[in-house]
């Protein structure tokens, strides 16, 4: 079994009297894609941002590649890449310039064009972020999270708001990144996305992890309980129709 790269123990977050993350434990293994699923307000973003040293941890802690987030937030920041759930970039700088700026903050030599090539934005190198489509913006956001060659990449709802083509395109990107050996922790509301991308998923509700396993095992467990789908299982769904009609090519 692969080494543990993210070790979370008793992680807790309180906003006033309300506890939004209630002492959760989980491990992420090196090289895997780890998904966190859960309804709105479950505490997914809060959890990620505590691991990213963006929000203070109120209880418990986490080790990333052996580094304690609470004690060495700056060291952790150096080895992770982050795509925030909602983010924005300076609109006056081009993609290349922005990547140089972020690279400078990590004291890393960046190869902006290589990064843009990787996320399929090479021809947008001299554009500004405000002229990008939603999908392009998400891909740029991923590129900007890779400037420091991170060991762990956090993606918070990378495909929310994207059309089916753009979503598939991002899935491929995630798989490509995984192939380079980077561990990925992502959140999503799309179950088929989790099933396709994630080696293991944690299901979060109300600040707690209520299930954690591979997607296949979770499904098997459910079936063991005698679960049956109400509707007759169709061999295709509306999304398949949509993709069939509009093709897989990216629009934008």
């Amino acid at each position: 079994m692969a080494e543990t790269i993210v070790e979370v123990r008793g992680l807790t977050k309180k906003y006033g009297k309300k506890t939004t993350v209630r002492g959760i434990d989980f491990d992420v293994r090196e090289g895997e894609v780890f998904g966190i699923l859960g309804p709105n307000g479950a505490g997914k973003t809060t959890t990620l941002e505590m691991l990213e040293a963006l929000r203070p941890i109120d209880g418990g802690g986490a080790l990333l590649d052996g580094i304690d987030v609470k004690k060495h937030p700056h060291k952790v920041k150096e080895i992770i890449g982050v795509q925030l759930q909602s983010t924005s970039f300076f609109n006056q700088l081009t993609l290349v310039e922005l990547l140089r700026l972020f690279g400078g903050m990590y004291h890393q030599t960046v190869h902006p064009y290589k990064l843009l090539e990787m996320v399929n934005l090479r021809d947008k190198a001299k554009s500004t972020v405000d002229t990008l489509s939603g999908g392009q913006r998400q891909r740029f956001s991923v590129a900007s999270a890779l400037v420091n060659k991170p060991k762990v990449l956090f993606l918070d709802e990378p495909t929310t708001g994207l059309d089916p083509q753009a979503r598939r395109n991002l899935w491929e990107l995630v798989q490509d990144i995984q192939k380079t050996g980077i561990t990925i922790v992502l959140t999503t509301h799309y179950m088929e996305e989790a099933q396709l991308l994630c080696d293991r998923v944690a299901i979060m509700d109300n600040g707690k992890i209520i299930a954690l396993d591979t997607p296949d095992n979770l499904i098997k467990d459910l079936l063991k309980k005698g679960f049956k789908k109400k509707a007759e299982v169709q061999q295709a769904d509306l999304e398949d129709v949509f993709i069939d009609l509009t093709g897989k090519d990216l629009r934008e």
Partner: protein
Amino acid sequence: MKDLNAVWIMTKLFTLRFFRDKIALFFTLVFPLIFLVIFGFIFGGNESPSFNVALINKSQTDFSKTFVEETKNGEIFQITETDFESAKEKMGRGEFDAILEIPEGFGALDEQGRPSGTLTSYFDPGDEQVASGFQATLQGVLDSINAELVQVEKPLQLESKPIQTANLTRFDYTLAGLLGFSIMGLGIFSMSEGFTVDKKTGSLRRMKVAPIRAWQLIVATALNRIFVGMISIAFLFITALLIFDFNMRGDYISFALFSMIGTACIFGFGMAIAGWAKDANQAAPLTQIITLPMMFLSGIFFPTFLMPVWLQNVTQFIPLTPIVDGLRMVLTEGKTLLDLGPQLAIIGVWTLVIYLIAFKVFRWE
């Protein structure tokens, strides 16, 4: 070292960003120019300056009585009759621009039956530029009386103690204040907006993801703004030279260095406000609180010597005061950086304090 390298890269790209922002450019480069031209015309108009003069009249002659009357009625001189000792003391505080002494027997008739005599004017060598304006004006008055008396040689003479050279215009006196005002505008008004916008859009939060510290962001932004501020000051200065025939008496190196130091100091206030405020609504009142005293008590528009002494004691510690004073000393008195020790000391302390505060109170979102 790595940290400073990051600051340098950030400074470069922030500057690039700034020059692409048309609105920001307008407010830093064009707006102060418009302001300079408007206020330059208002303050530097052709109306003649007026001087506060202490008068010591030791003469009882009819001519001297008329002379004193006429001078008092004129608009150029604000005359206060007093004795020499208290006049000297008040001039030291800047309440008087000059002391005019009418010696005993001034205006007594000479052999040809014409009034004659020599007036003595005293002034503070530190206030040379005011004094030279005063002398030129007084000489003009005497010349016209002389002309009326139809004399080939002038029986009335003005004796001036220190040496004066260039003729300074009203605008020349005002430029330091206008520059000070521009620095304040650039540093506080336009600066305090800066971070709050980036906090609102979340682009600052995106930068927080990287292992940079608040001081790096603040220093990079400050360097970027100081650079732009210096360009703005250069524009203003060139305009002053071209449109208002500004009479530069100082050296350009002292001027450049001193403006840079002053700009760095004042920009610290903008940085502190912008770094602390969560949004523009929080920044606005704080901006007002800090700029209002600067605007009215630093000698930008109102000379500080018109204020009561207790207030003058306070105003000298307002950070913009030593900047305006220092600029004035360089621009109109030809002082160099080495003469500005007291000013630099106050600015230095403020700079240190305000940047430490800025680092401390900074909030990323």
